[in-house]
Amino acid sequence: MIGFFILGLIIHVAAMALPAVQRHDGQLNRAVNLLNTVALVLGLIFSVHSLLTFQLWDTRFPLPFVGTIHLACDGITLFFLFTFQLLSVAGSVYAIGYLEHYVKGGVNIRWHLVSFTLLILSLQLILVVQHALVFLTAWELMAVSAYFSIVLEKDKPEVRRGGFWYFVATHASALFLYLFFVVLHDRTGSWDFADIAGQSGWDSGTLALLLVSGFLGFAIKAGFMPFHSWLPNAHPAAPAHISGLLSAINIKVGIYGIMRMFMFFPTGPEIFGWTLLAAALISAIGGVWYALAQHEIKRLLAYHSVENVGIIGLGLAMAWLGRCLGAPSLVALGLAGALLHTLNHAIFKALLFFGAGNVYLETHTGEIDKLGGLAKTLPVTGVGFLIGAVSICGLPPFNGFISEFLIYKSFFQGGNLMGGLVPLVLLVSAVGLAFVGGLAVACFTKLYGIVFLGEKRLKLPEQPGHEAVSSYPVLLGLATLCVWIGFAPGVVLSLVAPAISQISGIPTAQLGGELIAPLGGLTPVFALLLAMTLLILGIKVWTQKRVGVRLLETWGCGYQSVTARMQYTASGFAEELIQLGQPMLGLKLRWKPIAQVLPEPRMFKSHCFDQIEEGLWVRLNRTIGRVLMLLRWIQSGNIRHYVLYIFAALIVYLIIAFVW
């Protein structure tokens, strides 16, 4: 079975070599993406098979200096591998159609294709590698290749800017990881994950350092607040298939890293769990609230990735706490929620980004307030996007509900297990999650309602819908997955089971009884819902056939000359909620008040900027620049100053030598 996977990797390498031989860009695009798809499908066969048959795979081959390279697929790796490969398949197929337009536009996509393939390849490598140095290498490969995939349209300054955010953020996380693994190596004397996991009895100082550096490293990657600022900048910059994969799998590497930390520190301190909980809650609420304020589709979706990472973090935190309490069932619940939500978020977020990509191809803008009524021109995208939107709000009977349901349950179960005020804290977190759900509903009704429903707000070039045909199978497939996981979560949960049992220590058979069966019971309930809906729909259609249906103008409450511009806008839809979010959300409103009696041209602008981005990172950047400026006089160009420096240095050193 492993043969399939290795073959897949080899095919990836071949695909990377292809641009050297194939001259014609269009064919090159198709060829590379198809090769990748084939490779990924092969890998998918491997991961699914070994997940279902629960075959873990483990090999070491010796190398000098780096010691024996340890490659292994345990439950965690396999699950993430499955997720990554599944979504990369979608991404590659989608890219075929999407990049077609760049080829037509004369953009050079050769480097992009290479780095795209390298991104997929390195993402798979990161998971199987169990050796710190090789892990870091794969990590940086991923970072660099992802950067170059993002800046496809590098002629646009804003694209370069967005890409640079990613570039810096990912290098910062890499630095923290260097520290993390170096300290681990210093204490355990090994780069091998297995040896590290085997280590126990950390002294508290080292453990604190490790937890902090590791968490920071992975949190920056995963986009927890306040390290999220690269997401809303990088996602709009990237082409749709890349931004889809960024959210779907790239940030999940951070989650994978935190799972690894579960393996490394079996007896972690409880405080880390609480910290994780707090960070996750902040990310969830903050993310969705900022999302509500956005005017650009991809930026909005990027903030939702922050929110969903937060939700995943909630599950992880519960799992960590459960392990501190020695309650494996709680660990199982939390992990099941977190991992399942990882997969679910990957699916519907990719679906949404690809949908946004189609919208961009059709209208060449991402400004929500300029769009409208696209559900008629882009039917497939419309349906797919709707299903994605419902799923991301965690509404039944779609997949988002299942994972959030598990996380809710973990809260209440944890509340039962722990005494004192802890139940209240967990209750508050549960309420917070509900609050997030409400905001998400507001946000996606806004997004879908304004972009896809109603009438066109903007005169678009009259042309047949730009939906790339190759995107149909992707959108519909992903949508089907959303529905399927929602209706029958059993199968997917059995894919998660190995990972859970690996950490919680509960045998998979028992998990089937405790975890999977109850959710399996939801299927008839949803079936009932479906039946009732269809029934009533049937009755309605029947009656309407009898009494007839008429098409008329929308009821304008007596006002006759209604235009499309009079529709409710996205900013109007969300405005009050954003006002309630002040001052956490920096909202800038500019308008010209009514001055004269007679009407005159008037304007209203609302712009919401990210307080954390502006107030923390941009300001930090400015501060560093200013502080460094203070020393800028050194290179004065005047040799007399240089001579002075020499004497000054001499005196200072002598003082250090004899006085200090």
């Binding site: 009524g373 559900a375 709707l386 419902v390 709000c393 965690g394 509404l395 509900f401 349901f405 809710y408 349950k409 209440f412 509340g415 039962n416 139940p423 209240l424 209750l427 309420v431 509900a434 609050f435 409400g438 905001l439 509903v441 507001a442 009704t445 806004k446 879908y448 309602g449 429903l453 109603g454 009438e455 069966a517 109850p518 019971g521 309930v525 009932l528 819902l529 009732m532 809906t533 009533i536 729909l537 009755i539 309605k540 009656t543 309407q544 009494v547 249906v549 098409l551 008329l552 103008e553 929308t554 304008g556 409450c557 209604v562 499309a564 529709q567 409710y568 109007g572 839809f573 909620l577």
Partner: protein, 309 residues
């Protein structure tokens, strides 16, 4: 583990509830009329309206798409399915499992989602306004629900509505107070969700002031019927929630249980009517504070309970 009640009564009851739901709104209207000193329409008036609507032909806006045609049925079926999760007085809930109240909340959420989309589908500025308001208030309404039932779950240590209701220890002194206070916050929730005074005025005719009614401006015929019926189902749902929470007899004494259950329903109807007579509609900016107030009650409630235990 999801359990489907083996007792046929639960399922029969469900059907009767579907049928009887409009009656409650009828009763409320009657009370209102009486308190206002009018004679008022018959209690059965809602039924007449529904039948009339079902017979009318449907008019669709040219701007509308598949959402408008799909939404009403989904709104209706989600509300109906939510009813199935409720224990009615002494009788078992038809469907019950650990955490079913989460499902209940999210089912209503799904309905709301589609209703908002349907409102935005017809490209009307008025309905967009209603949609925005609905979305905004929902953001604050859902936490109340979760807080109340979450705290009950923690207090009783059980996770399904069925077991929570049967798990309330009325003999302990704390529980009655706790239950009463929480049902107050649920009453607030009811007012908001069922678009009653003082949050929303069900029978105004000025679109700018409405929330729920303005969203269904363009619905007509069978769709409108579905919306109306779903609304009355929703009202009944919350009423049932409260009255099964305030039911000490439970299964000990079915007769007393049922009577008390019915009694609470009538009292609720009276309260709603009284409020609608006595109060004016809030300014919309006040509604979030109103809801937060309900949440705060819940917080104090659970705090008091935890500390005095």
């Amino acid at each position: 583990m999801v359990t489907f009640s083996s007792n046929p009564v639960s399922w029969l009851l469900f059907l009767t509830v579907l049928g009887g739901a409009p009656l409650l709104s009828g009763i409320v209207n009657k009370f209102k009329a009486r308190m206002a000193g009018r004679f008022g329409a018959s209690v059965l008036q809602p039924y007449f309206d529904l039948v009339k609507l079902a017979r009318k032909e449907s008019v669709y806006s040219r701007s509308s798409g598949f959402i408008t045609r799909l939404a009403p049925s989904l709104v209706w079926s989600t509300t109906a399915l939510a009813l199935l999760l409720l224990p009615v007085g002494p009788f078992f809930a038809a469907i019950s499992f650990d955490g079913d109240f989460i499902l209940l909340a999210y089912l209503l959420g799904l309905g709301r989602f589609l209703q908002i989309l349907a409102a935005l589908d017809v490209a009307s500025s008025f309905e967009g306004m209603g949609a925005s308001r609905e979305a905004r208030f929902a953001v604050f309404a859902e936490p109340i629900f979760f807080f109340t039932f979450g705290s009950m779950a923690l207090v009783t240590g059980r996770f399904s509505l069925q077991s929570i209701v049967s798990g309330i220890a009325w003999d302990k002194p704390l529980f009655p107070i706790f239950m009463i206070v929480s049902s107050i916050s649920i009453f607030f929730l009811m007012i908001t969700e069922c678009s009653r005074m003082p949050v929303d005025d069900p029978n105004t005719h000025l679109e700018l002031t409405m929330i729920h009614e303005v969203m269904i401006l363009d619905a007509s015929g069978f769709d409108l019927m579905l919306y109306q019926h779903a609304a009355s189902l929703k009202l009944l749902l919350y009423a049932f929630l409260i009255s099964s929470l305030l039911n000490p007899f439970g299964r000990l004494n079915p007769v007393a249980g049922v009577t008390l259950f019915a009694g609470v329903l009538v009292v609720l109807a009276a309260c709603l009517a009284a409020i609608e007579i006595l109060m004016a509609r809030f300014r919309l900016v006040l509604v979030p504070q109103f809801l937060l107030y309900a949440t705060v009650i819940g917080v104090l409630n659970i705090l008091i309970f935890t500390f005095s235990r």
